[in-house]
């Protein structure tokens, strides 16, 4: 019988990486991802994971080494956060354009300045267009499962793209939860062996990363876009197979108590659990409120999203990032543009909260629902989005 063991989520993530039998791990320490690679380095030091653990001198070199290792045909993993992810920025595009199956955990954390080690989504939202597959996790079990999914997806010969698994910093990485871990036998052949066709092979020499003259650059970019969009089939198949074998189901857009809901909250990551609590209490009070959570962020699951919001008249989108100078947060922008061409689209109101580790409570969601109803009946707010919990300064 499966047993659930209390465990820090970072440790569970490291266990999943161990079970994926990676070859090369490169990391530079940055809070709050450190526990993941600390545990991995222990596994390597104790001979429990046969991998090359590279203590590199920066995140820039971590991702560069991953690109080199993946190009040589190795199975690779790295983890970072915040400034570290920003330092990787340049190479992230190159990793996807070279079609290299790298798996990375981003322990989401605010970006400077002011410097903040605490959780929000500004690091990954600044990397929205890097061409990597991106998912967001809500709890420890999902984080563990998502790493296994990620290795299955990137190893699929039809995908050949890198993948980010987003795990909220501290609020998930450092939380101890009861997590069910698979035995290696139980996992069976869910994870395929890592085999790469195109690699740096002296018997079959290839030129990787050539100059893209104007005559070919557009087409090269389009191919990455096509690969990313088409990867959705493999992602969905990986989740279906997981559900069939192990009984836990995942979807690109997850719905909670959406039956007959006129108002839909839309969240990503760990605050979705708080939002569920708010939905439960609002339902008790007779309000037709539901929650949808965006799990698959890239490629954005447009048909699934449109289907999920078909019945709603109001969508309250919660962003944990300020898109400076834009008219709303990045998720809200995505949602609005996804609905724009529909004839009977719901009203969309954007909210920004929980920046730089500010607590997010059920009361924040009560406020969001209340404001949304108010905007719907009395006209939209002067500002295109609303800050929740912003103190007057």
């Amino acid at each position: 019988m499966p047993t659930r063991t209390p465990m820090e989520v970072s440790i569970a993530v490291a266990k999943a990486v161990q079970q994926a039998d990676v070859d090369v791990i490169a990391a530079y320490p940055i809070t709050p991802q450190t526990h993941i690679v600390e545990h991995l380095s222990e596994l390597v030091a104790n001979g429990e994971l046969q991998a090359n653990f590279m203590n590199v001198e920066s995140e820039h070199s971590a991702i560069s080494a991953m690109v080199g290792a993946a190009a040589a045909g190795a199975s690779t993993f790295t983890a970072t956060s915040s400034q570290g992810l920003a330092l990787m920025h340049e190479i992230l595009f190159i990793a996807s354009s070279l079609r290299l199956p790298i798996v990375m955990v981003v322990a989401n954390r605010a970006l400077s300045g002011p410097i903040s080690i605490w959780n929000d989504h500004s690091d990954i939202m600044a990397e929205r267009d890097i061409g990597w597959i991106q998912v967001f996790c809500e709890n420890g079990q999902e984080a563990y499962d998502s790493i296994l999914h990620a290795f299955r997806v990137v190893r699929d010969p039809h995908v050949l793209l890198p993948m980010v698994v987003n795990i909220d910093g501290f609020n998930l990485t450092h939380v101890i939860e009861p997590i069910y871990l698979f035995d290696q036998e139980e996992l069976g052949d869910y994870l395929p062996e890592h085999r790469q066709q195109l690699k740096l092979d002296i018997d079959h020499p290839v030129t990787m990363g050539p100059v893209g003259i104007p005559e070919v650059y557009t087409e090269a970019k389009k191919q990455v876009e096509d690969a990313l969009v088409n990867s959705k089939q493999t992602i969905l198949a990986a989740w279906q197979e997981f559900a069939r074998r192990f009984g836990r189901t995942y979807a690109p857009i997850e719905a909670y108590r959406v039956e007959g809901a006129k108002i839909l909250l839309m969240t990503m990551g760990v605050i979705s659990r708080t939002a569920m609590g708010a939905v439960d209490r609002l339902r008790e009070r007779g309000k037709a409120v539901g929650l949808i959570r965006c799990r698959l962020w890239r490629p954005f699951p447009l048909p699934e999203f449109r289907e999920a919001v078909r019945q709603a008249s109001i969508i309250a989108v919660v962003d944990r990032h300020i898109s400076l100078g834009a008219h709303s947060g990045p998720v809200c922008q995505e949602v609005r543009s996804a609905l724009y061409t529909l004839p009977n689209r719901p009203q969309v109101f954007g909210f920004v909260l929980g920046l730089g580790g500010r607590d997010v409570t059920v009361h924040d969601f009560f406020e969001i629902v209340e404001l949304s109803e108010q905007y719907a009946s009395q006209g939209p707010p002067a500002s295109e989005y609303t800050h929740i919990g912003l103190r007057e300064v």
Partner: protein, 347 residues
């Protein structure tokens, strides 16, 4: 000396390898000294190797899709990370060999970057790779400026040189600093092999690349790479200028093996630096006084290298004479012991 070097066999000028990993038909400028150095280095390593290239002239000229001048596996990622990428490749090959996923891990890896990609933006990644001790050859093709973007100064641009971002003017001599000493920085990392190479001395260059491949751990090669476009000299003078750089002591050829300096070519009767400078229009604005400053710096640098290599010579002499003394002593003792034993037997 490194034991791997005991088996070292020099290239025979009559029987050089025929295989050219860098094929003809690339897009380098006429008279490019850099592509010559790269071609010779690649030739020395042969068919079984992996090349990692930084952004720069040699990347642009050799890889414009849908063509490639590379007959061996070649990877370009970005400007500043050739050393980090190469260390990733090396780490991957090593562990995959350990796990039985591949059969070979002794494939030489050649990381290539220009002076900007090495001494400026790429120095951190290079330092990290050296510190971690990855087994690859790093070749810096030093053409003394950012030639690929249009002749902007780098930290390896020599004192007095005119570039588009260090132009001479009423208040400027051109580049106002002396070159950063990259080989010395490499030596400070205590890596097993550091050497300077020059395409005008092609056998020396190829042999050093071969040695670098033999030695386990990081190897650094600093290649003098004349650039007709950036140095404003005629294409036909590239090799002449490269040779003059050695003959005038501007670019001495030396090796540093496990921290010990060996001056490969002692220039006893140096030509004046003026002869080297006058062929290049980037130095055309210099006055006699400016040239004097450069000459003095060249003298000092050469003397420093000479002292460092003489220390090795001295050490060798001392070790040899001490060994001779020990041998003598041992012989005397053996004789004395023999005599004693004989006397003992008689009594």
């Amino acid at each position: 000396m490194e034991t791997a070097l005991d088996t070292f066999e020099k290239f025979d000028p009559q029987h050089l390898p025929e295989f050219e990993p860098l094929a003809p038909g690339h897009r380098a400028c006429q008279g490019c000294g850099e592509v010559l150095a790269l071609r010779l280095a690649a030739k020395a390593l042969g068919r079984e190797m992996i090349v990692v290239s930084a952004t720069g002239c040699m990347e642009i000229i050799s890889s414009a899709y849908p063509q490639t001048a590379w007959r061996v596996p070649w990877l370009h990622v970005a400007f500043e990370n050739a050393a980090a990428v190469a260390s990733g490749v090396e780490a991957a090959l090593r562990i995959m060999k350990g796990k039985g996923k591949i059969t070979r891990d002794d494939i030489p890896i050649l990381a290539v970057a220009g002076d900007g990609g090495t001494a400026d933006i790429g120095l951190q990644a290079l330092s990290g790779a050296w510190e971690r001790g990855h087994n690859f050859i790093y070749l810096c093709l030093d053409n003394e400026a950012y030639m690929n973007t249009g002749i902007q100064r780098s930290s390896l641009t020599p004192y007095g040189a005119a570039t588009t971002t260090s132009p001479p003017g009423k208040l400027s001599i051109g580049e106002g600093h002396f070159k950063k000493d990259l080989p010395a920085i490499a030596v400070a990392h205590k890596i097993p092999y550091v050497a300077t190479v020059n395409p005008a001395y092609y056998l020396d260059l190829m042999n050093k690349v071969k040695k670098a491949a033999l030695i386990q751990g990081p190897a650094y090669l600093h290649a003098f790479s004349p650039c007709p476009t950036g140095w404003r000299h005629e294409g036909r003078y590239a090799v002449k200028i490269a040779r003059l750089a050695v003959q005038t002591r501007v670019f001495p050829l030396y090796e540093v093996i496990n921290g010990k300096y060996f001056l490969n070519r002692k220039v006893t009767k140096p030509k004046p630096v003026r002869e080297y400078l006058k062929l290049q229009r980037r130095f055309a604005h210099l006055t006699e006084e400016d040239i004097e400053i450069i000459q003095e710096n060249v003298n000092n640098e050469y003397d420093r290298l000479l002292r460092l290599s003489e220390e090795v010579d001295l050490e060798t002499k001392l070790t040899t004479s001490f060994q001779q003394y020990l041998d003598q002593l041992k012989q005397q003792m053996d004789e004395a012991y023999k005599k004693l034993r004989e006397e003992f037997q008689h009594t």
